[in-house]
């Protein structure tokens, strides 16, 4: 039951993009087409699941025993950067077809604040290992959901005749606002 609450809360109620404002850059940047946003979503889910395990182990088996929790930011960002590189290299060797699909998105993920954000958040919420993994995968699904929905809307927006000053990012932001409003409807769920 607890896992169920975490999943619903992470996907709908506290959606990482629309309620917590993490990962806005890919949200605005890679959301022009539904197909690319699906690829980005899959890549983020993959990396986030691994990051959550690694962040959990680092925090409770390295940083806490040594008493250096203040080094969290430096350690996490370096490990995430290295991890993304490693995932890229391994994917290239083991599964070239998956690499073909996700490859372009992987380097972008290092600077995706959602990944570092999730590592810090799950330490803040003091989840155990199982909860951490469930939480981060659910969050990543929430991210993909928001991205794909938004891409669907933007594909249509391109055909609209808009005032010049509103074209591009401004109208995208206003649309995102309305989407966020729709997601607020879920807030009574949990």
């Amino acid at each position: 039951m607890e896992y169920f609450v975490i999943i619903i809360s992470a996907i709908f109620v506290n959606n990482i993009v629309l309620a917590q404002f993490l990962g806005i850059c890919p949200f605005l940047g890679v959301s022009n087409k539904v197909s690319t946003s699906l690829g980005m979503g899959a890549a983020v889910t993959f990396v986030m699941a691994i990051t959550s395990v690694v962040a959990y182990l680092l925090q409770y088996y390295v940083l806490v025993p040594l008493g250096i929790q203040y080094m969290q930011t430096i350690v996490f960002i370096l490990v995430i950067a290295a991890l993304v590189q490693m995932v890229e290299i391994i994917l290239k060797k083991v599964s070239p077809s998956l690499y073909q699909a996700l490859g372009v998105f992987l380097p972008l993920i290092t600077t995706n604040c959602a990944v570092l954000g999730i590592a810090i958040l799950l330490v803040q919420k003091s989840y155990n290992l199982g909860e951490s993994v469930v939480f981060s995968v659910a969050t990543a699904i929430g991210f993909s959901l928001a991205l794909v929905l938004f891409a669907g809307i933007r594909e249509r927006l391109e055909l609209e005749d808009l005032p010049k000053a509103m074209k591009g990012v401004p109208i995208a932001l206003i649309t995102a606002g309305i989407l966020a409003m729709a997601f607020m409807g879920f807030s009574g769920l949990v």
Binding site: A19, T73, L78, C113, Q124, P170
Partner: protein
């Protein structure tokens, strides 16, 4: 380009939020009130200026191939310094800004300036560049924070000017997107007129 222009270009012409559209996460996430927006802006200004100074000092000793990881370590150290200082002196603001303080590390503005400016210029110019871009960022965050606080709460910097509540939506998540969207429209209109 003279020194004065190095400083002032960040305010309007290369404003990180309204022109370059960088660092969107803290821009949307922390501007629930004018004072929070300003706090976030000043925190970023500090990290940006310090990391620009350090990187321009050590730029000749970093091998080209590992320069991005080296920049990230410098930036992350500055963020850690900032975290410790904020916890000691302004714990209330640190609590409000929460996860966005450690996330300054992945703010693309800072790595962008390190790569585009500090790694090619002297210490003094880099410091000025960091101050200028940082002030531009602080300015736009304060403006967005003020607009949201005015509409959502009927107050500016905590001083109420209307009785009762405002349009609560603007303090909540959707208001952030909508307010920034319309501010961008106004900014685009104004800059188009100036040209």
């Amino acid at each position: 380009m003279n020194k004065w222009q190095t400083f002032t270009k960040g305010l309007i012409k290369e404003n990180p939020t309204f022109v370059l559209l960088l660092g969107m996460c803290p821009t949307l996430g922390t501007t629930t009130s004018a004072i929070n927006g300003m706090g976030m802006g000043v925190a970023t200004l500090f990290v940006l200026t310090m990391s620009n100074i350090v990187i321009s000092l050590i730029k000749n000793y970093i091998p080209g191939k590992v320069r991005i990881p080296a920049f990230i370590v410098v930036i992350a150290s500055m963020v850690t310094v900032l975290q410790l200082c904020m916890q000691a002196y302004v714990p209330a603001l640190y609590e409000t800004l929460g996860v966005f303080i450690p996330l300054i590390v992945v703010n693309c503005i800072i790595l962008g300036r390190a790569e585009a400016f500090a790694s090619k210029n002297g210490v003094f110019s880099s410091a000025l560049d960091g101050l200028g871009i940082g002030c531009g960022f602080t300015l736009s965050l304060t403006v967005l924070g003020t607009v949201r606080e005015m509409l959502g709460n009927g107050s500016i910097f905590g001083y109420k000017f209307i009785a009762g509540d405002g349009i609560l939506l603007f303090v909540l998540a959707p208001g952030a997107f909508i307010a920034l969207g319309y501010l961008l429209v106004i900014f685009n209109k104004l800059t188009a007129k100036m040209k």
